[in-house]
C-alpha cells in the first residue's frame, strides 16, 4: 500500500509538471491582461495537433515540441491582437471579454472537430522502456517533462526578476496606468506576454498528448478546468503559486485515481478549487470594477 501511494505521488508529480506548464502560461496572461481566457484550452489543442501533424510528416519530435509551442504563441497573438484588442477598442467590458474568449473557444474547437473529422488520433513518440525505482515506474519522457517544467519555472522567474521586460511586465500587471505614464510601452509588454504564455500553452498541449498518447478536439477543453483551478489556487499572476497549486492538484487527482476511483480524479481537482473558493473568499472577492483591461 505505501508503495502504491508512492507511485501515485510520482504519477501526480508528472501530472503536476504538465499542468504547471499550462498554468504558468495561463496565470502570466491572466495576471497581466485580466481577461479570464477560456480559449486557452483550445490553443493547447492547436499545439497538440501541430505536433501530431509534424510527427506524421516525420519531423523530429523534439522539433515538433518546439513548433507546437510556437503554434500556440502564434495562435495566442492572432487571437489577442486580431480579436480581443478589437473588442477592447469598442470598450467591451472585462466581463464580456471572457464571453468573447468562450466564443473563440467554440469556433476553434469545432473547426478542429470539422477538420479532424471528429476522430481521435494516436500520438506515440519518445516512448522508451520505463525505469523502475522501487515501486515507482517512470518513463524517461515523464522524467523529461518534470525537468522541463522546473527549467521553465526557473527561466521565467529569472526573466521576470532580472530583465527589463520582466520588470516592465510586473509593473504593468500591478498598475497599468502608472506604468504607462512612466513610459512603459504596455502594448509591447502585452505582445511579449501573449507570445510567452501562448508558447507555454502550445508546449503544454504537446506535453499533454505525449503523456496521454492521443489527441482529439476536446483535448484542451477537458484540461482547462484544472488549469483555471491551479491558476486561481496559486494566486493569479504568481508563477511559483501556479506550480505549487499544480503539485497539490496533480498529486491529489492521481492519489484519488490510484484508489480506484478513476472517473472521479478530475472531480477531486475541482473539489480543491471549490474548497479554496469557500475558505478563501477574500482571495477572490476583489471587485471586478477595480480591475482594468490591459490589451
Amino acid at each position: 500500500m505505501p508503495g502504491q501511494l508512492l507511485s501515485s505521488v510520482a504519477d501526480g508529480i508528472v501530472v503536476a509538471a504538465i499542468l504547471s506548464v499550462a498554468a504558468m502560461g495561463f496565470t502570466l496572461q491572466f495576471g497581466l491582461t485580466n481577461v479570464l481566457n477560456l480559449s486557452f484550452g483550445s490553443v493547447m489543442t492547436i499545439g497538440g495537433f501541430t505536433a501530431y501533424l509534424l510527427e506524421a510528416a516525420r519531423v523530429n519530435p523534439w522539433l515538433g515540441l518546439l513548433l507546437g509551442g510556437a503554434a500556440g504563441a502564434v495562435a495566442t497573438v492572432v487571437l489577442g491582437r486580431g480579436v480581443l484588442r478589437q473588442y477592447a477598442r469598442r470598450r467591451t467590458q472585462l466581463f464580456e471579454m471572457m464571453m468573447v474568449t468562450l466564443g473563440m473557444s467554440l469556433v476553434i474547437d469545432y473547426s478542429i472537430q470539422a477538420i479532424s473529422q471528429n476522430s481521435i488520433y494516436s500520438y506515440t513518440v519518445l516512448q522508451a522502456a520505463p525505469v523502475h525505482l522501487g515501486s515507482i515506474v517512470l518513463t524517461p519522457v515523464q522524467v523529461g517533462i518534470v525537468i522541463l517544467a522546473i527549467v521553465i519555472l526557473v527561466v521565467a522567474e529569472a526573466a521576470l526578476k532580472f530583465t527589463k521586460m520582466g520588470k516592465a511586465l510586473r509593473a504593468t500587471a500591478v498598475e497599468p496606468s502608472l506604468a504607462r505614464s512612466c513610459g512603459i510601452q504596455t502594448g509591447r509588454v502585452v505582445l511579449i506576454t501573449w507570445l510567452a504564455s501562448g508558447f507555454l500553452c502550445g508546449l503544454a498541449g504537446v506535453v499533454y498528448i505525449i503523456s496521454t498518447q492521443s489527441v482529439d478536439y476536446t483535448t484542451g477543453e477537458l484540461f482547462l478546468p484544472l488549469i483555471i483551478a491551479a491558476a486561481i489556487l496559486g494566486g493569479v499572476g504568481s508563477l511559483k503559486g501556479a506550480v505549487g497549486a499544480s503539485l497539490v492538484i496533480g498529486i491529489v487527482t492521481e492519489v484519488v485515481a490510484g484508489l480506484g476511483a478513476g472517473g472521479y480524479s478530475t472531480v477531486a481537482g475541482f473539489a480543491i478549487l471549490v474548497v479554496v473558493l469557500l475558505l478563501r473568499p477574500g482571495a477572490v472577492i476583489a471587485g471586478d470594477e477595480d480591475r482594468q483591461l490591459v490589451l
Binding site: 480579436v83 464571453m99 467554440l106 469545432y110 473529422q117 477543453e221 477537458l222 473558493l277
Partner: protein, 333 residues
C-alpha cells in the same frame, strides 16, 4: 400520420423545450445579470430524474441499463420530480458559485461545473448508465389516456405548448413585478442596488433556483418525448445556443425570446436537414457549432439589444387618466 406531420410536431416540441430554456436564461441573464454558463446541466438533471422515476426499478448491473432511484411514478409526479431536481441542484451549485466572487470567476466556475458533470455522469455507470445513457422512457400523462408520445405527437405538442405557456405567463408576470424591477437594478449596478437595501446574494440565488426549476422541467418534457437521454445530448456548448437565441431575439424581452428561439435553435439548426449533404457525416454538425460560436462573438461585438429589445415602462403623471401607472411604451424606440 404522415412523416411531415410527425416532423412538424417534433419541431414544435423542441421549440417548446428550448423556449423554456430561453425563458429561464432570460430571467437569469436578461433581468438579473447572472450568467449561467452551466445551464444545460440543470436541464440534464431534470431529464435524468424524469427518466429514472418513470422507467421502473433498475434491473441492476447485469442488465442493459442501470440507474439509481428507479420507480414508476404517475403523472404529475414525474415532472414535479424533474422540476425539483433542477431546483435542488441549482440551490447546491448556487450556494457556492454565487457567493461574493468576481463575476468572471463565477461564470468560469459554472462552465467548469458543466464540463465536470459531463465527465462524471459519463464515467459513473451505476448513476445514469454512463455514456450509453438511458432509453425506453415513457410518457406518464399519455399512459392515463392509453397513448404514447410517438403514437400521438400532436397530443404531446399541445401538452408541451400548454406547459410553456403557463411558465411564460408566470415568469413574465414575476419579471414585471417589483421583484423583477429589483433584479434589473441589480443587473445595472450591483453596488448601488445593495446600497439601496437589496440583498444581492439572496436575489441571485432566487433567480438561479427558479431558472434551475424551469430547466429541470424542460428536461423532463424533452426526455418523455424522445424517450432517451445520454451525455451526448448535453454538451457544454448547448447552453450557448440558447444564449445566442436571446441575443438575437431580445435581451430582457420575453416576446423577443420567443422569436429568438424560433430563429436560432429551431430554424437555423434545422436548415442543414434540407441542404444536400456535404463531406463526411457529422461535418455539418461541426460547422453549425462554428457558426454558433461566430454568431455569439458577433452578438457581443455589436451588442444588439435584439430584434425586440427590452421595453421601456412609461409613467403617466398623477392626474392623468390612469394616475401614476407604469405602462409599456406604445412603440419600441
Amino acid at each position: 400520420m404522415s412523416a411531415w406531420g410527425f416532423y412538424v410536431a417534433t419541431l414544435l416540441i423542441y421549440f417548446a423545450v428550448d423556449l423554456l430554456s430561453g425563458i429561464a436564461l432570460n430571467l437569469q441573464f436578461g433581468y438579473a445579470g447572472v450568467v449561467n454558463f452551466g445551464y444545460i446541466v440543470f436541464q440534464a438533471v431534470g431529464a435524468y430524474v424524469a427518466a429514472v422515476v418513470t422507467l421502473g426499478p433498475s434491473l441492476g448491473a447485469g442488465s442493459y441499463q442501470q440507474y439509481i432511484l428507479g420507480a414508476h411514478l404517475p403523472f404529475p409526479l414525474d415532472l414535479l420530480a424533474a422540476t425539483a431536481a433542477g431546483a435542488l441542484l441549482s440551490l447546491l451549485v448556487g450556494l457556492f458559485s454565487l457567493r461574493r466572487m468576481r463575476r468572471d470567476y463565477q461564470a468560469a466556475v459554472l462552465l467548469i461545473v458543466s464540463l465536470i458533470a459531463l465527465q462524471v455522469v459519463s464515467a459513473d455507470v451505476p448513476l445514469f448508465n454512463g455514456s450509453n445513457g438511458l432509453t425506453g422512457v415513457g410518457w406518464p400523462l399519455g399512459q392515463l389516456f392509453g397513448v404514447t408520445a410517438t403514437q400521438s405527437p400532436w397530443l404531446y405538442t399541445v401538452w408541451s405548448l400548454v406547459v410553456v405557456a403557463v411558465v411564460f405567463v408566470g415568469v413574465s408576470w414575476l419579471s414585471r413585478s417589483p421583484w423583477g424591477r429589483s433584479l434589473r437594478a441589480m443587473r445595472d449596478n450591483q453596488g448601488a442596488a445593495s446600497a439601496m437595501g437589496l440583498n444581492i446574494t439572496s436575489l441571485r440565488l432566487q433567480v438561479f433556483v427558479i431558472g434551475g426549476a424551469i430547466a429541470g422541467l424542460s428536461g423532463g418534457l424533452l426526455v418523455e418525448y424522445i424517450g432517451a437521454w445520454s451525455p451526448g445530448a448535453w454538451g457544454y456548448a448547448e447552453t450557448f445556443v440558447i444564449f445566442t437565441a436571446i441575443f438575437v431575439g431580445g435581451v430582457g424581452n420575453y416576446r423577443g425570446v420567443v422569436l429568438g428561439v424560433l430563429l436560432v435553435p429551431v430554424i437555423f439548426l434545422e436548415i442543414p436537414r434540407f441542404l444536400p449533404a456535404i463531406g463526411y457525416p457529422g461535418l455539418t454538425a461541426s460547422l453549425e457549432w462554428v457558426v454558433i460560436g461566430l454568431a455569439w462573438m458577433l452578438c457581443i461585438f455589436f451588442r444588439p439589444r435584439g430584434i425586440l429589445p427590452e421595453r421601456r415602462l412609461h409613467v403617466t403623471p398623477p392626474g392623468a387618466l390612469e394616475p401614476g401607472a407604469l405602462q409599456p411604451e406604445a412603440a419600441p424606440r
